[in-house]
Symmetry: C2
Subunit: 819 residues, 2 copies
């Protein structure tokens, strides 16, 4: 069952039934000011940090599920309704929500009054625009009262939802003209405030929630709206809100437009008060003036669209498969940007309270954006490296505001260091900017170093932390935190990861070994490029040792083991009663080239197909754990079929896709791709439940009650890895240090495809033809009519960051014949 | 305006209008299992710890404010309603909520169907009973469907409201017969579960919230209730709930009774599973059998009533003033027990998330309960002492489950140590059990010590931490955390108390000085009783020094100063622009006897009356701070008139009442008493807003927008201190080490009063007569007809804890003539 459709031209997903199986959201904002907006106007806004600077209040897991948002109410003759359906839920004659790139438009009509509300955050500003157009489609004059509504959060979202003995006494507002200023704690240590305004005179307002809604009423029946009379309330403590009342008269056929702005503003501490004692509003009024007319809003929207068009134009596909094209050209890239911006902080499943920027997460996230925002990827790499210790271990998370490592979680996740190598390699391969290796970035202890020193420390951290089988020690956990082989937690509520009660643990990870043989060679290549051959040689020798260790001790009969536990027992072996086969090492070991020649790689991937494949994707392990094993940790804490315990943990699926391309099995690779790519799941939205335009972290596995049901949409490394899998490995348009490799691995039935890729300042228009209906293999490639040697378009590395990577004036025509 | 009335015979507050100005709640449970229940059935339950073991989910500061609770829905012929008014809010023909001692009864009637729901927690059990009686008051047969509803919390309330990426995948239930078992995480580290049952066959059930309510519906319109058809849903992840559906046929005049039980159960880890793989339910079924009939429920309720009757019978007053009698005999004592049980953890203003057992709080709370539960007070004193450091400083909080000091808050609140002396003194004076001083209780570092050693360390901590004026250093803050003279916080969101950036701070507290001269003599007396005269002499000399220091450096022209700040500037002086006079030192310095002879005490209390008195009580300071002073800390962070910044912070009001009795000014003392005693505020419930049967922490002061509006009801030291003020000082029935002192200080117009007090195993029936209409002064006292010397009924101290302090077989008649 579908709840909407893709409008590929407009790059929108258009929802035409408000009662989606879960609120389907969009992200407004791309730099500092963010807003989560559902298809019925639920959600909240924040500035930079979803915990510390939350602008509007939102209650997660509420009843109704999505209560609270940026609401408008229309009142006429004793009746009222919401043009976004929620919260009033009065039946609409027409409803539509367009989720576009950084904007959403929600249209509603009832009894011949229609509204269209455009919500967006201007590219370089810290506010959100709600432009509401209201039209009389009938033949009689209509007198309407329009009420707006936002509920302010008292900034620190955690405090806001726990410390009521204080915060119900602190709320303060000012009202001036049509602008409501929320200034709680401004008089003490905050030099910032928010405001909510409209470019029109108002007939009244409310700033106190209870006065507006009533103590015992829901959002669906605010007493002010029920009565049609604004309360002109001034909040003093309790819960400040912003609500305007506009009296609107519409002639038959008449349309009017109103621009509401919700803004965040910081003042200089020395200049925070106005001469008459109120807050200094000058900068706020300047901001308001930037958007107080339709033409200004149109321009800002156009600027936003150009921003996204430009970002997304770096890779363009025509495959003949609409669903694939829309994933690659629009939605997958869009999601990659969102995961890069937000890490795992704020979604409808991430409360914005507890998670910083993950070291492992962000290095992977940037795989999906390095072609769009290379400068920001570079900055992120440096920020990440700065939280690394001299021995190569890393803080597992850092705080976005302070960029300081998070001591509560600490270190000890032994896969973390390698991801920095992978992230750096991706950056260099995309941009050619090898100079980043010389970038000075100190270790966490302040010791001066270059980024290369960090990568060396990363590499060595694996080398110097090996266990009895010569495999890497796992530490607290590797990807993704849930296999906790040295942290035996037996007390409820204890952290599975930080209960490090087995500090002498010798548990080993075959996943890290697989990562090492996959990512290690990137380090070797980087060494060679900057003339550090001695290090390269030693590193290569370590990689060979690791390959040997995996082939000797890291294999079960038909697949790669997952780990050795604290006691030296195998994890992910046919000898186990549960959890006999895990997905991760099959992906990474094959990516690293293990067992290719011997056929073991093929056997491992065949086992994946046999044991892990389902209608809705590959489960993480099989069979799931039915009981809790303290020696395995969190993974066995989930009910069978959910999350890591046998759920379809989408993040790991593309590793298998990529591994399949290593074996040349394009049919399998693309089949796996389609199973979890959301655009292909649109028709089963009633089962899948999450947005059909973005990946979810997890789909319930075959042993779950709700097999096929997704959770945790939006913020997941799934986005970046699937983007890598489809573009670099299946379509095979893959940046390498020396240039652009063309190495497709596609379903045999495909006759070809067309890609435009922006790469190191030029645009490559790549026509791939597959006359022989092969999965893999390039017969020849012509660049601008000339056949090149092999399948690599050579472009030299650069010794400095390119000033404007998005310059795309030079084009090359590439013709590829597979066979 | 009133919303109900006191039923003094039944010891109930009876609410007859469901739309109270704020949800008016009651506490069910008195030992380990607790439930907060509002007058319309909102609220939640927990076992021992409101954060770690929350049984049902609740959303604070929600819209509607009190959404979520223990709901019942009645469905008939396509219509449905709530017999507790909320959440459906269908108009009732009759509504009543009786909040009694440990139980509540909510009655509702609509269209001739009436229900009466009795909610209570049995005295010694870990469950709550909801007995629902339903009656057909009409003349036709009625066919009804009754739906029950509770929403389970996934135990850790903080995790439950933040960590959705995990916890939406963990929910699990079992259903067996009429019982719904909530067993999330039972399969891993939890050996406990909850269940919801009814003593009747059911026609269906639901355990999945979305199936029952619908994704986009509120509690007021669950889709199952709207349709009248249970979904028989089995929760798998998301949000487990418990709902039964009962089909009921009622003949005209017929009444039926149904007993619902919500229980919490722990199993032995070795015996947690049943043979068929489900949870071991044996103990749960035993619990259910204890309450599955009306007679069993009647007995359990009777046991509960006896429990409370016994607790409250230790002090009984007949004053001729109903409002005073109901405060003293019932509601003040009841609130004292609740504050002792809950500390500051869980109320409608305390989220249960962040606050442990406060050292300062609990020592004061036990002043109000030591006559009711001396054994538990003794245990609490020992628990508190165990978190004390050898140098006398103390952890500011400890965790109720672990009894370990809370490192996040740490130590450094320099008033803390003295409260332990006060608490211990109160215990000894009430019980006579001087043996507690020899109780072995180690310091926090494990060093062995007696409780006396702790008191000595407490006393010395003040002595050894004095500032330039010989006054006690304040440390991070004294009562109550908001005057932070060494923690200059300039960053938003920083803790005002733990930002100890001025560790060299020499800021001094006149409040601690006042406490020292008030509480210090208690220590001296204890020393003398156990023959430690040398220590007593030294201590007395320190007290004299402190008195001198206060009289020299701790006074302003007309009142006592509050403090010296980091820079040595006065706080609470006429020389300040704001915050010229504070309430706390006026109370404690006069209690300590300072300035009595010189007349300064009178001047100080006259200043209190002049500067701090308002229609609704005494504000904490005047004038309030209009700007933030980093050197004063949190106190200046509140908007003027709220909380510590010039609010009527009720906790400190009884200090002035007591001080007034020291001066013999009974009129003033009782006037202050009446201004904040909730029973006297019943008629202004629309202004006061909080429950008229319990104190609130704060009433907005004269500079606040909402002067007279209370906040933070229930969990406040106000309860204990007002109980002390009225019983020990105004009525003057005051335990002393040597016996019971009779020392009333009452309004002159009173002609007398009658008190029964249980004291050290005997009952004293005290008739006080005031023929001369004096405020203070006892002419003579007869005990059992014999005139005694002075006004102290001498009873020797005991060298061991009394086995049964509540033995009240021996009675004495005491006749008191004032004059």
């Amino acid at each position: 069952m579908k709840y909407g459709y893709f409008d590929d031209r407009a790059r929108e997903y258009v929802i035409n039934n408000p009662e989606t199986p879960y609120p389907w959201i969009n992200y407004l904002g791309s730099k500092n000011y963010f807003c989560l907006l559902s298809n019925t106007a639920g959600g909240y806004s924040f500035y930079k940090d979803a915990r510390l600077l939350r602008i509007t209040r939102y209650r997660y897991n509420n009843v109704p599920i999505d209560a609270g948002g940026k609401y408008y109410y229309i009142y006429e003759d004793g009746e009222y309704w919401s043009p976004t359906w929620a919260p009033v839920k009065a039946k609409l004659d027409y409803y539509q929500c367009q989720h576009g790139l950084g904007y959403s438009v929600i249209t509603g009509e009832r009894k011949n009054i229609s509204t269209e509300i455009l919500y967006f955050v201007p590219v370089d500003d810290n506010c959100e625009i709600h432009r509401l157009k209201i039209k009389n489609n009938g033949s009689s004059v209509r007198k309407i009262k329009l009420f707006s509504f936002v509920e302010f959060c008292l900034w620190d979202a955690y405090d806001d939802m726990t410390n009521f003995q204080r915060n119900l006494s602190t709320g303060e507002v000012e009202v001036e003209g049509s602008t409501i200023f929320h200034k709680t704690e401004y008089r003490e240590r905050r030099n910032h405030f928010s405001f909510f305004t409209v470019n029109s005179n108002i007939s009244g307002f409310d700033t106190d929630r209870e006065s507006f809604i009533g103590l015992y009423n829901g959002f669906h029946e605010p007493q002010v709206v029920v009565s049609g009379r604004p309360g002109n309330s001034i909040a003093s403590g309790w819960s400040p809100i912003g609500s305007h009342c506009l009296e609107i008269v519409l002639q038959p056929g008449e349309e009017q437009s109103y621009i509401f702005i919700l803004g965040f503003m910081e003042n200089n501490p020395d200049n925070k008060w106005s001469s008459c004692g109120g807050i200094n509003k000058d900068k706020a009024y300047s901001m308001i003036r930037r958007y107080n007319s339709d033409i200004k809003v149109d321009n800002a929207l156009q600027q936003l669209k150009s921003y996204w068009d430009d970002l997304l134009s770096g890779f363009y596909l025509e495959s003949g498969d609409d669903r694939l094209d829309r994933m690659v050209n629009t939605w997958n890239q869009y999601q990659c940007m969102v995961t890069f911006n937000l890490a795992r902080s704020a979604s409808y499943f991430e409360s914005g309270i507890s998670r910083g920027i993950g070291f492992r997460d962000s290095n992977q996230d940037l795989l999906g954006v390095v072609h769009m925002v290379p400068e920001r990827a570079r900055e992120r790499l440096i920020d990440l490296a700065r939280t690394q210790f001299e021995d190569g271990s890393t803080y597992h998370q850092y705080q976005p505001l302070t960029k300081e490592g998070n001591n509560e979680i600490g270190s000890g996740f032994n896969d973390d260091p390698l991801w920095l190598i992978l992230g750096t390699a991706a950056y260099i391969k995309e941009t050619g900017d090898i100079s980043i290796l010389n970038e000075e970035v100190s270790f966490n202890n302040g010791k001066e170093a270059t980024l290369f020193d960090h990568l060396l420390a990363s590499f060595n951290h694996v080398v110097l932390n090996k266990g009895p089988h010569g495999l890497p020690l796992i530490g607290r956990a590797d990807w993704n935190d849930c296999l906790n082989l040295n942290c035996f937690s037996t007390d409820p509520g204890e952290s599975f990861q930080t209960t490090t009660n087995k500090d002498d643990g010798q548990a080993e990870s075959v996943l890290i070994a697989g990562m090492f043989v996959t990512i290690g060679p990137e380090f070797v290549k980087m060494c060679r490029f900057i003339g550090k051959d001695e290090i390269a040689d030693r590193a290569q020798s370590e990689i060979e040792d690791m390959k040997k260790a995996v082939m000797e001790h890291g294999r079960d009969k038909n697949w790669f083991l997952r780990a050795y536990d604290y006691y030296g027992n195998k994890v992910g072996s046919i000898d186990n009663n549960e959890g006999q086969i895990y997905i991760e090492p099959q992906g990474f070991c094959v990516m690293g080239g293990l067992g290719i020649e011997s056929g073991f790689a093929r056997k491992a991937l065949d086992s994946v197909k046999e044991r892990l494949d389902t209608e809705y994707g590959l489960v993480l392990l099989d069979p799931p754990y039915k009981q809790y094993y303290p020696e395995l940790g969190e993974i066995s804490s989930y009910p069978p079929g959910y999350k890591e315990n046998g759920g379809i943990f989408c993040h790991a699926n593309p590793w298998i896709m990529i591994a399949e391309t290593v074996l040349g099995r394009g049919n399998n690779a693309f089949e796996y791709y389609k199973k979890i790519a959301p655009a292909y799941l649109e028709e089963i939205s009633d089962i899948h439940r999450m947005e059909p335009y973005v990946y979810a972290q997890m789909i319930a596995g075959k042993d779950a009650v709700n097999h096929g049901e997704a959770k945790n949409s939006w913020l997941t490394g799934t986005a970046a890895w699937n983007y890598v899998a489809i573009t670099h490995y299946i379509l095979g348009i893959r940046p390498e240090y020396e240039g652009l490799k063309i190495d497709p691995c596609i379903p045999e039935e495909w006759s070809g495809f067309y890609v435009e890729k922006r790469f190191r300042g030029k645009v490559y228009k790549i026509h791939v033809n597959n006359p022989a209906k092969v999965s893999k293999g390039v017969k020849h490639i012509k660049v601008d009519g000339e056949i090149i040697e092999g399948n690599l378009i050579r472009i030299p590395l650069e010794n400095q960051a390119r000033e404007n990577v998005n310059d795309n004036t030079t084009q090359h025509i590439v013709e590829v014949i597979m066979g």
